[in-house]
Amino acid sequence: MSLLAFSDFHLAFWSIAVGCVCGVACALLGCFLVLKRMSLLCDAVGHGMLPGIAIVVLLTGTLSSFVLFVGAMVFGVLTAFLAQSLSRFGTVSEDSALGIVFTSLFAVGVVLLSRFLGHIDLDPGCVFYGLFEFVPTKTFILFDVEIPETFSPTLRELIATLVEVPEAFPTMLTALVITIVFVALFWKELQLAAFDPELASAMGYNAQLLHYLLVALVAACSVAAFEAVGVVVVLAMFIVPAATAQMLADRMRPMLLWAAAVAVVAAVVGYWLASPWVFACNVGGMIATVLGAELLLAVLFAPRHGVLAKLVRNFRLTLRIAGEEILAILYRARENQTRVDTFVLKDHGLSRFTIWLALVRLQRQGAIERGASGWQLTDTGAQQAESLVRAHRLWEAFLGENFELPLDHLHAPASRVEHFLGPELQKQLAEQLHEPSKDPHGKQIPPVHEPQMHSDKST
C-alpha cells in the first residue's frame, strides 16, 4: 500500500503510538541497566542479536514473526554470556571482552544479511536508521466495522484509524506488556540484585539468572524497536531516559515513571519535529535528538542535582557568609568602638555586588541599620553576631590548643570555619576546651545565647 492511502492523522497516531510503546519498554529496562552501571550492555545486545535475526529470517523467510524474538533473545543472551566467559577465561578485561564479542557477532550478522538475504526486505540501511515512517503503512484490520454515516467526520476518522493497526504494533505492545510484568513480578529481586548483588547471592537469589532474564528482555525490546528506529537510536531509548530520570528522582518508582514520561515526550515531540511541517527528517533520529535535549534540560534544571540548582545553592551560601562577615565586622567595631562606613571582604572572594546584596538583606531583616555614626548592629543583629563571634573565637581557641600555629595564623582559618559551626558543634567544642572565656588573643568569647543564627545552616 502506498503512503498516500493513509490520512495524516492515521500516520501520526500510529507513529506516535509505536514510538511511545517502544520508548517506554526500553526506558523501563534501561533504568536497571543504568543502575547496574551496564549501559554498554544494551549497545552490545542490540548489535550482537543481529545474527539471530538473520538466521531466523533465513529459515522462515519473514521478518514479522514471533520466532524473530526468540532468535534475537538467544543471541542477546549469548552476547552477554560470551563476553562474561571471555573476560573470565581469557586475559581480557570486561569492557574489551564485551566490545570484542558484540562487534564480532554484529559483523557475522552483516555478512549473513548481505550474502543470503539480499532479496529479502531487510536492508542494512533499515538496520542502521530504521524506517519509522513506514511502520504505520503496513497494516491489518483489527475489526471489520461499519462506521455509521451519522457519526461526525472526526469520530469516523478516529475509529477508522483505531481499527487499522500497523502489523508491527502487536509485537511491540507484547514487548511492553512483558517488560511491565517482568519488572512488577521481580521488583524486589531486581532492586536487590542491582543494588547489592553479593547480598542477593548470599540470600540465595540467583542474581545471574535474573541478569540473563534482563538481557533477554533487552534483546526482545531491541528487536521490537529496531525495525522502527534503527539499531543505534534504540540505544538512546534505553539509556537516555534512564539517565535523565536518575537526575530527577531519588527513589526507584519515581525514577521508572520519569523515564517512561521522558520516552513518551520524546516520541510525541520527536514525531512532530520530524514531520513534513517542521523539519521533514528521519523520525528515529529526531526522537533520539529530543531525548538528548531532555537530558540536557535535566542536567541544567534538575531540582537537586542540576547545574542551576547548584549555582543557586552556592550563591545562597556566599550570601549567607557575606552577611555573617558583615555582622562580625560590626560586632568587633562595637567592641573596639570604631566607625564602619564601608565593607571590604577580599579574604572571602566576595564581590562588591554580593556585599551590597547582603547589606540590603540584613537591613530588611532588621539586623543592621545605618545611622549618623555609620553602620550599626540592632539588637537582633547583635545577637546573631555574638553566636558567630563565639564560633570564631572557639575555633581559634581550639586551633591554639591543638595546632602548632603562631597567633597571627589563627584568624584566617577561623573565619573560614566559623560559618559552619552550628550550636551543637559549638557546644562540643566548648566542652572539649573546658568552657573557655577567652580566645588565644585574650578576647572575650561571648556566652551562649538562644541559638538562632545557624538554624538554617545549609551544608
Partner: protein, 253 residues
C-alpha cells in the same frame, strides 16, 4: 554440633591461590575477629564461608549443613564501598532488603517486614533518617544502615566485612554495643577487622590470617606478640613462589 566448620579450604582468583588450606572450627557462639595485613584474604575467607566464591578445595559447613541449605540463618554486611550509594533508595528501603531472604521469590515485604525494618533502624539509632536517600548519609550513618539491614535478616550467624572502617567514634561504639548485644543473645558474629588496638576489647575469639591461617582460638591465648609477628612479618615467600608456579602451569596446559 559445630556452628562453623571450615575444612581445608583453598580459594584462588585466576587460578592463583589467595587463601591456602584454611582449617577452622567454631563450636560455641562467639564474637570472632578476623585480623591480618592487607591482601591476607580476610574478605575472601568470609566470602568463602558465605559460598560467594568458588572453592578450589575443601568444604564449608554451617550448623553441619552446606551453606546453601541454611542461607536464612546467615546475615551478611559487605564492605561499605561495595555498593553505589547514589542508588535511588531510601534508608528504610535498604533496611527492608534485610527481610528479602525470608520472603523468597515474588513475595513483597508487607507491614510486618516494615515494622521489623523500622525496629532495626531504631536499634542502630537512625530511625529519624528512614526517608533519606542513602547518598545523603555520612559514612557512619551508611554503616549503621547496613547494620540495620543485617539485623533485619534475623540471622543466627553474621558475617561482617570491616563494619568499623571509616566510621566516627560514636558509630564505632554503637556498632560494638549491638555486636555485643547479638553475642549475648547467643548469635555468632564473624568480623573482618583492621584495628589491632581494639581487638582484645572487641572479640572473644580470634583468627589471625595471612594467606594461611596463622593462629585461631580464644583472643586471650591467641593475641600474642609472637603470633602477631608471624601474621604481619611478611608472607611465606615459598607460598608466593608455589602460587605463581601453579598459575603458570595451568595457563599453559
Amino acid at each position: 554440633m559445630p556452628i562453623l566448620d571450615v575444612h581445608d579450604v583453598t580459594v584462588a582468583y585466576h587460578r592463583k591461590p589467595v587463601l591456602w588450606d584454611v582449617d577452622w572450627t567454631l563450636d560455641e557462639p562467639r564474637l570472632v575477629g578476623i585480623v591480618g595485613p592487607n591482601g591476607a584474604g580476610k574478605s575472601t575467607l568470609i566470602k568463602a564461608m558465605l559460598g560467594l566464591v568458588p572453592l578450589v578445595s575443601g568444604t564449608v559447613n554451617v550448623f553441619d549443613q552446606p551453606v546453601a541449605n541454611v542461607r536464612r540463618r546467615i546475615g551478611y554486611v559487605p564492605q561499605r564501598e561495595s555498593v553505589d550509594w547514589d542508588f535511588p533508595v531510601s534508608v528504610l528501603d535498604v533496611a527492608l532488603m534485610g527481610t528479602y531472604g525470608s520472603l523468597g521469590w515474588f513475595r513483597r515485604p508487607g507491614a510486618k517486614q516494615r515494622a521489623l525494618a523500622e525496629k532495626c533502624l531504631e536499634m542502630v539509632g537512625i530511625r529519624d533518617l528512614e526517608q533519606q536517600q542513602i547518598g545523603q548519609l555520612s559514612g557512619g550513618q551508611q554503616q549503621r544502615t547496613f547494620l540495620a539491614r543485617a539485623l533485619a535478616q534475623q540471622a543466627d550467624v553474621y558475617f561482617m566485612d570491616e563494619p568499623f572502617a571509616g566510621v566516627d567514634a560514636a558509630t564505632e561504639q554503637a556498632i560494638f554495643q549491638i555486636l555485643r548485644h547479638l553475642r549475648q543473645q547467643g548469635k555468632t558474629i564473624v568480623v573482618v577487622h583492621h584495628d589491632l588496638r581494639t581487638v582484645p576489647r572487641y572479640f572473644d575469639h580470634l583468627i589471625l590470617l595471612n594467606v594461611r591461617l596463622v593462629a585461631s582460638g580464644p583472643t586471650a591465648t591467641v593475641f600474642t606478640d609472637e603470633n602477631l609477628r608471624k601474621t604481619y612479618g611478611g608472607r611465606l615467600s615459598i607460598l608466593e613462589t608455589v602460587g605463581a608456579a601453579v598459575q603458570a602451569q595451568e595457563r599453559t596446559p
